[in-house]
């Protein structure tokens, strides 16, 4: 347990600088884009008025007013980038210990504690980064809406709408707790899958490793399809029961992936 | 110290001590370094030092008591024996060398005298 905490601490410290940079850059891009889009809209209105000798209300009629949701397209983009970063981190958190000038994996595997502490410390680190990205993105969206209100002129703004999200964002940044939990669970499951694939590749030589990875990915995809198809097709269950079953399916896979990963780490992993 | 890798290192260490006993660089009753110290000094494995000291004890070259540094023997007979041994060894080696080039004994003896005296003179001059 102690070693788990020490290792988690270390993983976080190792990636902290890069994490902060990524977060700041994403925030900057998103917030600047909000203001930029407001100004662009203003410019469009002005141009229309000049070119067509129209009044403000005519221009607004033609081009349309702006609401916050219209300016959040960059946020969607950044959310995807965030997902990509987490995926990359999930791979990099392992591979950096094998590749490079120093082979830290030797040190990790020689530590006196149990090997599962290595696995769970890395899982925790990725999980924390993922959760914090989601949380921070919420904050940025909120901050963006204040920026929007501050920078736009009243006439240009669409009548206030409590929904600050564009439809695509809404899927992800739902205020529905169940959906949020689903998203986090599924993401964690994907991370477990990534960890399993990495450990498989590292436990077998060259081509054999890649073959195992391909097999395992196929297993996952098949499992996912079967579960989804089943949930889709069955008419016997209530919606809430379906949700529970879905969570169950996700947990089953995570336990499988973790169990296999731990076994690989204990018996088959090689420097 | 350089070691011949084809003969036991511990015996080479014993020999090192014997040479110094013969020349009285190490005097009767003088304390010698501990096994640890001699190992570091000569650059040998502490086990080798251990073996060497044991051998020297068996040959009665040193005396060891518990918790006290080992000492060179006070027995004058042992010191004499060592000198004789060293001399015998040097002479045997020398004789083998000159026999190999087939020099008669009287020439060898007179040559030995001359060279010996020369080296003594050079020592005084220096």
């Amino acid at each position: 347990m102690k070693q788990y905490i020490q290792l988690t601490n270390e993983e976080i410290k190792r990636s902290f600088k890069l994490y902060v940079i990524v977060v700041l850059v994403m925030a900057a891009i998103e917030l600047v884009s909000v203001v930029a889009q407001v100004m662009l809209h203003e410019q469009n209105i002005k141009n229309f008025m000049e070119n067509n000798r129209a009044t403000l209300s005519e221009a607004l009629q033609q081009i349309g007013k702006l609401d916050y949701a219209d300016t959040t397209s960059f946020f969607v983009f950044m959310t995807l980038i965030g997902i990509v970063f987490v995926v990359i981190y999930a791979f990099q958190i392992w591979y950096r210990d094998w590749l490079g000038e120093t082979k830290y994996i030797y040190r990790l595997l020689m530590l006196p504690g149990r090997r599962y502490s290595i696995f769970f410390s890395k899982l925790t680190a990725v999980f924390l980064v993922m959760i914090s990205f989601i949380g921070l993105q919420w904050c940025f969206l909120k901050a963006g809406s204040y920026l929007f209100d501050w920078s736009i002129q009243a006439e240009y703004q669409k009548s206030s709408n409590t929904n600050i999200f564009s439809s695509s964002l809404e899927e992800f940044y739902t205020t529905n707790l169940t959906n949020m939990i689903f998203i986090i669970l599924i993401s964690t499951m994907i991370v477990c899958l990534i960890f399993l694939l990495v450990l498989l590749e590292r436990s077998h030589r060259k081509v054999k490793g890649l073959i195992r990875v391909a097999i395992e990915t196929t297993i996952f995809v098949s499992y996912a399809f079967v579960c989804i198809y089943f949930l889709d097709q069955t008419h016997l269950l209530l919606s809430s029961e379906k949700d529970a079953l879905f969570i169950g399916f996700v947990f089953v896979y995570m336990i499988y992936a973790c169990w296999r990963s731990l076994r690989l780490l204990k018996w088959k992993i090689s420097v | 110290m350089q070691f011949d890798q084809r003969s036991p290192v511990y015996l080479q260490v014993v020999r090192w001590f014997k040479q110094r006993i013969a020349t009285e660089e190490l005097q009767s009753g003088q304390e010698i370094p501990s096994r640890r110290e001699i190992a570091a000094q000569l650059g040998i494995n502490p086990n080798t030092a251990q073996k060497a000291y044991k051998e020297m004890e068996e040959q009665q070259l040193i005396t060891t008591e518990r918790n006290v540094p080992s000492k060179i023997t006070r027995d004058p007979q042992v010191v004499q024996k060592v000198r004789a041994e060293m001399l015998e060894e040097a002479v045997s080696e020398f004789i083998n060398a000159v026999k190999a080039i087939q020099i008669p004994l009287d020439e060898v003896v007179s040559k030995v005298e001359t060279v010996y005296q020369e080296t003594e003179r050079r020592k005084v001059d220096a």
Partner: protein, 225 residues
């Protein structure tokens, strides 16, 4: 006594270790000898638990206990951003059998600074850091993989000095090296590896006393067909 019994390892169909058995006695420096690529490094890693084997066991004083073995590999294992001081702190944090006094003493002997970044050090100094990480663990058995590889003469002498010091006491050391000629006189036992098996084991002083052979002589006999 560290005992290795019947280690077997295959890479795919190719057998690398075919039943390697030998012992590493306490208070002695044992050298594992073999040609390049014969699996010496693999044996050490297998003993340390870094490489899985198809068969075989490693016993320390009769039981399976990896925590009585310390391994010094031939590559750097601490993350690149760490200083020497960081590495020592790391070991102190994770290991209950870390001996800070031994580490400090070795730092003095090797003349290393805690503030130096490990990856900025010369190869010789990096090797010294790795040695400290192994020697400062109070464990009875120590494995050294090519401690003299690619380092300058002066550093070699410093490291060889360890084998003449009190750091040898209470330890059984297993070492692999190609630089046999300079340190032959320090080795207590040699174990010869060939074709994945141990074909010969000797106490070096016995070899010298009984046969008048040096380790290198025996190596020529064994490896030159």
């Amino acid at each position: 006594m560290l005992e290795v019994h019947g280690l077997q390892k295959k890479y795919g169909k190719k057998p690398v270790l075919q039943g390697v058995s030998f012992s590493v006695p306490m208070d002695q420096l044992t050298c594992l000898i073999g040609l390049n690529g014969e699996g010496k490094s693999t044996i050490l890693k297998a003993i340390a638990g870094l490489v899985p084997v198809n068969a075989g066991t490693v016993l320390v004083d009769g039981e399976i206990n990896r925590n009585k073995i310390a391994f010094v590999p031939d590559i750097q294992t601490m993350p690149g951003y760490m200083t020497v001081g960081d590495a020592l702190t790391y070991m102190a944090d994770y290991y209950s059998d870390w001996n800070q006094e031994t580490a400090n003493e070795l730092m003095r002997i090797f003349q290393l600074l805690s503030t130096d970044k490990i990856t900025d050090l010369s190869k010789g100094n990096q090797a010294k850091v790795s040695l400290i990480l192994g020697f400062a663990l109070d464990r009875p058995y120590l494995l050294l993989d090519e401690p003299f590889a690619g380092i300058d003469l002066f550093t070699k002498e410093q490291i060889a000095g360890l084998f003449s010091s009190h750091f040898m006491e209470g330890r059984g050391i297993l070492m692999t090296t190609h630089e046999i000629q300079e340190i032959e006189h320090l080795i207590d036992r040699v174990v010869f590896l060939q074709d994945g098996r141990i074909i010969d084991e000797h106490e070096t002083e016995e070899m010298r006393e009984l046969y008048g052979k040096s380790v290198q002589d025996r190596m020529r006999e064994v490896y030159q067909r």
